[in-house]
C-alpha cells in the first residue's frame, strides 16, 4: 500500500502533453459573433479537406461550435470556402 506509486513505473512521464487544457476561445475572449465573411478566421475550424473540425479537436463549446458551423456553411454558399478541397491549408 505504501509503495503504490513506485509499483507502476513508466519510461516517460504519463502526464506529458496533458498540461495544455482545451478551452472555448469564444467564451474565454468574450467573442459573441462569428462573421461568416471572414474566410481566414474560419479556416482555423476546417481541416485540409475543407471539412468542419469536431468540437473535441477545436475545444469549442456547443453554442459556439454551432455558430461556427453555420458561419462555415454560409461562407461555403458564398464561395468563400470550398465544399470539398485538398491541401486547403
Amino acid at each position: 500500500m505504501a509503495n503504490k506509486k513506485e509499483d507502476i513505473k513508466f519510461l516517460s512521464n504519463p502526464n506529458i502533453g496533458q498540461s495544455r487544457k482545451k478551452y472555448c476561445r469564444f467564451k474565454k475572449y468574450g467573442i459573441k459573433y462569428i462573421d461568416y465573411k471572414d474566410a481566414e478566421f474560419l479556416k482555423q475550424f476546417v481541416n485540409e479537406q475543407g471539412k468542419i473540425l469536431p468540437r473535441r479537436i477545436t475545444g469549442n463549446s456547443l453554442k459556439y461550435q454551432r455558430k461556427v458551423s453555420t458561419a462555415v456553411k454560409r461562407a461555403r454558399h458564398l464561395g468563400m470556402l470550398p465544399f470539398v478541397a485538398d491541401l486547403l491549408k
Binding site: R76, L78, P82
Partner: protein, 166 residues
Amino acid sequence: MRHYEVTFIVDPVLSGDEIKSAATTYVDHLKGEGSEIVHINELGLRELAYPINKRNSGVYYCVEFTSETGDFIPKLELAFRRDERIMRFLTVKLDKYGVKYNADKRAGLINEFKPKKKKSEEPERKERDRRDRKKEAPAKEAPAKEGASVKEGTPEVSATESGSPE
C-alpha cells in the same frame, strides 16, 4: 428595428459601370421600400473557392440595412433571383451581437485575423527522415516517389532529390 445584412456576388465579366449600376439598383430598391441603409461594403473582386456559373471570381457587395418589418425581403430576393448579373446572394438577420460586431469593425476596433505560421521546423525533420530511408530503396523508384510524395517541400528539397540518385 430589425437589422439585416445582404451579401451578393455580381458577375465580374460585366463592365465596371454595369457592376456598379447592378449594386446601386438594389440599394435604391431598399431605399424605396423604406429601409435605412447603414453601410455598403464593397469587398471587391475576389477569387471564388469553387466555380459558380463557370466563373472563378466575383465582385462582392455587402449591404447592411435596417427596417421596421421584413415584408420586402422576399421581394428583394425575388429580384436577385431574376437578375442575371447576380450570381449568389445571402440575406441574414443580424442579432445585437452581429450589429455590434459590424459597428466595431467599421470603427476599426477589430483587427484582421492573421494565421500564425507554426510550420517552420516539423516538415523539415520529416523530409530528412524520408530522404535517409529512401536512399536504401532502389534508385529507379526514388525520383518518382519523391516527386509524388513531397507536398510542402521547398524547391530546394525537390531539386536535391532529383540530383542525388543520379
